[in-house]
């Protein structure tokens, strides 16, 4: 776009959202060009500038967002939505330039509805802030991912996020009642007033996980829960993974713990040893159960009886409480993998009949094809029918040439995710797809991908919304 036309676009955007909310400053471009995606971090680490937006825009609400999208559509300018930028898949990076639409000015808490048990807030609200708002009234959001303090409500919805007490309370898609969305053509819509209905497909679920490719989420009603009367922890050590999976599957048929996290032997011997202090070899599992005190008592008995059948060593409550206290510490610099290492989390999910096999196959595929890589895993979100793997690769010796590091990174990802797909897994469980895994979406969905493509074509005919993400 020539300078004259760019200036014309700029002034139209300034007219839409106010001059102070439109920026072409280097500082704003740089800070919206690097998210938590390893490749963007690696580029920055090597002193390379990532692709940057031409303009950063911060609308205050759906009306202003609508104006921005109408302008972008008219001039056919790419729009990449940025919430907290804490995503690992490159979903928020403006790889095609254009406009970055930062949602964080849309952070208003409109209502705390104690009867309907929800908070209505702008999608740019930091999730921790709505947790504080809930806490002030004696409630909780029960959405506690490691990025709780840095990510937005819209960000979690856009990539279908999950928190550590998901086994009892669900993923973000279980926690949202209704959303306000601005479609690419600027039309403002609301999904239905309640999520469980038979008035056709659930609009919420069409936009949740759409990663800014179908519109911009501007407002949401997020569920709140009563604080549990009692929350107890119990740590266990399993001698093998098969016993752990069987024990986990059996307990889920009886009740839903809030936290269930099984760490493989390698992760138990590394991260868990370092942060929680478990020294013994084996597979550590932390279980939390909570709610009404009388029920918690009963659940504890069921848990101990069930796990004893699988020869789990009862480590008491100490390690579990320590883990709860440090649950976010794992992700601070100095505790987490960091550059110059190359690393990634290939989270996938499958029913119990496949999940253990996927784990072993992925471990074998990574360790065989990339002998320089270490493979560690934990299983942190469990259902009656299956669970997810949070499996990570770590490479210490990474090529200095950014292009070669890029190739190595993508080779590992291709190998890992294709192994998951070949054995009944999916491209991703809860980090999303972004630009990192877009190429693999068609491999998972095959002809079903046409459904997403048709939605994209109808809602975003000019293809301006978050181009090259989600395989769309």
């Amino acid at each position: 776009m020539n300078d004259f036309l760019m200036l014309n676009v700029l002034t139209e955007l300034e007219d839409a959202v106010g001059r102070e909310n439109v920026s072409t400053n280097t500082v704003d471009k740089i800070t919206h060009a690097v998210d938590y995606f390893w490749l963007s971090r690696m580029f920055a680490d090597r002193g390379c500038r990532m692709p940057e937006a031409d303009i950063v825009v911060s609308p205050a609400d759906a009306t202003e967002t609508s104006k921005v999208l109408k302008i972008a559509n008219y001039y056919k300018i790419p729009v990449t939505t940025w919430g907290g930028g804490g995503g690992t898949q490159g979903g928020a990076i403006p790889v095609a330039g254009g406009i970055v639409l930062d949602t964080k000015r849309m952070d208003k808490i409109y209502e705390i509805n104690e009867k309907g048990m929800y908070i209505e807030c702008g999608a740019g609200a930091i999730y921790k802030h709505i947790e504080w708002a809930a806490n002030e009234r004696g409630y909780a959001t029960m959405h506690y991912p490691s990025s709780l303090t840095c990510s937005t409500v819209g960000g979690f919805l856009a990539h279908r996020g999950i928190g550590v007490v998901s086994t009892k309370y669900g993923k973000i898609d279980d926690m949202v009642l209704s959303m306000e969305i601005v479609l690419p053509n600027g039309t403002i819509i609301n999904t239905s007033t309640a999520p469980k209905h038979a008035a056709g497909p659930d609009l919420n679920q069409i936009f949740i996980g759409s990663e800014g490719t179908l519109g911009v989420i501007t407002k949401a009603q997020i569920r709140i829960y009563e604080q549990p009367e009692e929350r107890r922890f119990r740590g266990f050590l399993f001698q093998n993974m098969t016993d752990a999976f069987n024990a986990g599957r059996e307990i889920l048929q009886k009740f839903k713990p809030s936290v269930m996290r099984l760490y493989d032997n390698a992760e138990t011997a590394s991260l868990i040893k370092k942060i929680v202090g478990v020294e013994k070899p084996g597979a550590f599992m932390n279980v939390a159960y909570e709610g009404v005190k009388e029920l918690v008592e009963v659940e504890e008995k069921i848990l101990l009886d069930t796990f004893a059948k699988y020869h789990a060593e009862d480590l008491g409550s100490e390690y579990g409480e320590k883990w709860w206290k440090e649950k976010i510490t794992f992700f601070y610099p100095g505790h987490m993998m960091d550059l110059p290492q190359c690393f990634g989390t290939m989270d996938t999910i499958a029913p119990y009949d496949k999940i253990e096999n996927i784990y072993w196959k992925m471990k074998e595929a990574i360790e065989t094809n990339f002998p320089q890589a270490r493979f560690i895993a934990h299983f942190s979100h469990w259902y009656e029918w299956g669970c997810m793997i949070y499996d990570r690769f770590i490479v210490d010796d990474v090529p200095q040439d950014p292009a070669e590091a890029f190739r190595l990174h993508n080779d590992i990802w291709n190998t890992g995710v294709r192994t998951a797909l070949a054995n009944g897994g999916v491209v991703n469980d809860h980090h999303g797809v972004g630009i990192k895994l877009g190429r693999l979406m068609k491999e998972q969905y095959g002809p079903a991908m046409v459904v997403f493509e048709a939605l994209k074509k109808e809602l975003d005919p000019n293809g301006i919304m978050n181009p090259f993400k989600l395989g769309l």
Binding site: N25, R49, T149
Partner: protein
């Protein structure tokens, strides 16, 4: 960049970490991505790698930080973004890359001794100081924010102490503590010189009571860093008041208002003092807490930063008033003249704002 290896290490640790985003008062108020410790670290890491320079708003962004220390307090690993921010300010000024408004403030500070460019005190404060200018053992150090941005409150503090029979001195030509220099240029020669000059004046007394926690902070911490000798005992005004109330030499007026204390960030986090102010207020009435208090306090603005980013200071202070409203509070009490000025500027209808001494005197 000519910053310490430690700061470079912090920059590289913070550049991809957003864990402290939620507690940044500036970022929360503006909603701008650049107002995070990670954004500042990311851009500076690129400057360090030669991929960017201080232009394009990068230098401005270094000055958008309040240095309130909330991110440092929050970091589970123990990184201190304030350290690299202060060192970078020094580098920015020394290399001539400072934004024009910062350069102007520095010139103003150099010429007038305060960032507000004031050359005279307001009449009421001048009269009040005239009444307590005789030499005693105790220096009541007002600080330049109180003298030039909150003179009514400074006058009130003098009158309250005087009325309680406390013997003290206020210097008519009080030197700057060096806090403003430290804030604007970090560890520069000018900062050391200002602190050295101030120390000479302070050393004439046995006790120095700092009305502004910012001054107490630099005297108790930065002077030591510079190796500047301080003979008197340095006390914060809040601790001094609490002591006087505890020993009965000051009688606190009772109030039926429910009081919410806005901890000055430097007092709570840098000096680790949170209880004395609450003891003082508890002697007056019921004390309750807002969201984020004590060492976790959410900073509520400053008169000094309002000189160059007034709109943002209004947004910051408005959010703190909103925090008070969320808990059903109506009365906020501060012990920072600078924060008082910021909060007073946007005080909502129906809310009340007092300095701690106003509460003691009877609000």
């Amino acid at each position: 960049m000519l910053i310490s290896q430690k700061s470079k290490q912090i920059v590289d640790s913070c550049r991809f970490c957003w864990m402290c985003r939620h507690i940044c008062p500036i970022g929360n108020a503006t909603g701008q991505e650049r107002n995070t410790a990670r954004a500042r670290a990311l851009t500076l890491s690129l400057v360090e790698r030669g991929a960017a320079d201080f232009s394009g708003g990068i230098a401005d962004n270094v000055y958008e930080c309040a240095l309130c220390g909330a991110c440092t307090k929050e970091c589970a690993t123990g990184w201190d973004p304030v350290k690299f921010t202060k060192e970078t300010r020094n580098e920015i000024v020394m290399t001539g890359a400072a934004p024009a408004y910062i350069t102007k403030m520095i010139e103003t500070l150099s010429e007038t001794g305060n960032v507000y460019g004031k050359t005279a005190l307001c009449d009421d404060l001048k009269k009040a100081i005239d009444g307590v200018s005789a030499k005693t053992d105790v220096l009541f150090f007002l600080g330049s924010d109180a003298r030039y941005a909150a003179c009514k409150q400074a006058k009130g503090a003098i009158e309250m102490l005087k009325g309680a029979g406390v013997k003290f001195t206020v210097l008519a030509d009080e030197p700057g503590s060096g806090y403003a220099w430290d804030f604007l240029v970090g560890a520069a020669d000018e900062t050391k010189n200002a602190m050295t000059e101030c120390a000479k004046a302070l050393n004439e007394f046995k006790t120095v009571v700092c009305y502004d926690p910012a001054d107490a902070k630099v005297m108790l911490r930065e002077y030591k860093e510079w190796g500047i000798e301080l003979k008197p005992e340095i006390k914060t005004f809040t601790a001094f008041l609490a002591g006087k109330i505890a020993d009965g030499s000051i009688k606190a007026a009772k109030t039926n208002k429910t009081l919410y204390f806005q901890d000055p960030a430097l007092l709570a986090r840098d000096l680790e003092e949170t209880q004395p102010a609450r003891d003082v207020l508890a002697a007056c009435g019921e004390v309750k807490e807002m969201l984020l208090f004590g060492k976790d306090v959410m900073w509520a603005g400053s008169s000094m930063m309002a000189v160059y980013m007034p709109k943002v200071m209004k947004l910051v202070a408005e959010r703190r008033w909103a925090d008070l409203a969320h808990v059903g509070g109506k009365v906020m009490v501060t012990a920072s003249p600078s924060e008082y000025a910021a909060l007073a500027d946007v005080k909502p209808e129906g809310m009340e704002l007092y300095t701690i001494e106003e509460v003691v005197k009877g609000c």
